[in-house]
Amino acid sequence: MKYFYIIFVLLFFSTNLFSQTDWEKWGKAETDYTIKDNYRHRNYNFNSDNAGNFVVKFFANAYWFFVSDLDGDNCPFRPSCSAFFVEAVKETNIFQGTLMFFDRFTRDTNVFKEGKYPREKSGHYYDPSSLYTLSGKIYYIPVNEITAWE
């Protein structure tokens, strides 16, 4: 009977043996204070549905690798002009995509962009290629709305 009580008491208080330790509770957190930079998280793969997309992706990848990534985040738009071109060709075809890109490039050159495009949290102008495909279905986003593209 004496052993029964000892076992009972041990079992009853056994939870204390596995309680949270101070080390776990107050341990130093590994925090990364660097700013998340999605800009350089490019999709460099060459997966393409057709030859046109492959050519465009080849030039876009080359531009990103040799110019854009070294030059820095200078395009005021999201998606950036080169990413817009890749998206535009994917959504339409190489000819229409090229026209969409030249139109975007002209709009990028215009210095008076303020108040014309909705902005992202990062401050970039949000201007997706889906608005320009002439499909007739436009999801209009008001200028004063902040989008969450990233």
């Binding site: 009853f12 026209l99 969409m100 030249f102 050159t109 210095v111 014309k116 002439l134 209009y140």
Partner: protein
């Protein structure tokens, strides 16, 4: 003896269990739910109201739950809960009215029109006519439309009706044609003046560079600048057509937003439920 004391201490906790917390009494839950509702914390108020329904049926709470969903813009849930309210409820008429209003809010115009067509109740006739202002296809007869609303509001509604009947769209075709004749003019036509001037400068610059290089017998550069210039020119025509479509989408969006704001201020010309604060 020791064993008895030990066991007594060990099990003493179960002898005096915790009593129910008075904070969770139905009266206090109701007060808390009303407090959340009046503070526009509708989601949590629904959670508390649903707790109360476990104690028994209550018409007010059954009505306030879908109203909270409606105010949260959870229209499908609101419709589901409004349709559960039966004829014995004190708020049956209000819930029916709110059900139709929710159909309008959730852009289910055709369903609303099918359900309310031929209904003689004035509130419902107004909702039916208001739904035509949102519907992209049907436009009702102007006089019938205006006569159903109070005369003090006729001027505002006439404005909305006119904009619905003849929206201030810009023609994609004209925008494209203008840009084909003078680069950038299509963009200026749709009020994108900066883009229009930039397109004009870009196209003109490459045209000049091409001409100048051909004149100087630099044929390769001449063709290169011609090619780039062509894409700027064609891209601008394309962009003008696209920009006209975006402009028209903006017109539609602004019309709907203004109309929704106006109708919301007027509570869709329906009586307000004063007990809902």
């Amino acid at each position: 003896m020791k064993k008895t004391i030990f066991l007594f201490i060990l099990f003493s906790l179960t002898i005096k269990p915790q009593t129910p917390n008075p904070l969770y009494s139905p009266e206090n839950v109701r007060k808390f739910a009303d407090y959340l509702f009046s503070g526009k914390d509708y989601l949590r108020s629904v959670f508390e109201y649903e707790k109360l329904l476990q104690y028994g049926k209550n018409d007010t709470i059954e009505f306030k739950i879908p109203v909270a969903y409606q105010l949260m813009e959870q229209y499908d849930l609101a419709l589901q809960e409004f349709s559960k309210i039966n004829k014995e409820s004190v708020y049956y008429n209000e819930s029916e009215r709110e059900y139709y209003k929710t159909l309008l809010l959730s852009d289910k115009y055709e369903e609303l029109q099918n359900k309310l067509f031929g209904n003689e109740v004035k509130d419902y006739q107004r909702l039916l006519y208001l739904s035509y202002l949102f519907n992209p296809v049907k436009v009702p007869d102007e006089q019938n439309f205006l006569n159903i609303f109070p005369s003090s509001e006729k001027r505002n509604l006439q404005n909305f009706f006119d904009k619905k009947k003849d929206p201030p769209y810009k023609s994609s075709l004209l925008a494209g044609l203008f840009s084909a004749l003078i680069p950038g003019s299509g963009k200026i036509y749709i009020s994108e003046i900066g883009d229009g001037i930039t397109a004009f400068i870009a196209s003109s610059l490459f045209a000049f560079l091409s001409y100048d290089n051909f004149r100087a017998n630099h044929n390769f550069r001449g063709w290169l600048f011609s090619g780039i210039g062509f894409f700027f020119y064609a891209g601008n025509i394309y962009g003008s057509v696209a920009a006209a479509q975006i402009y028209n989408a903006k017109v539609d969006y602004q019309y709907k937003e203004k109309l929704k704001q106006y109708l919301n201020d007027k509570n869709y010309f329906m009586e307000r439920n004063d007990f809902i604060k």
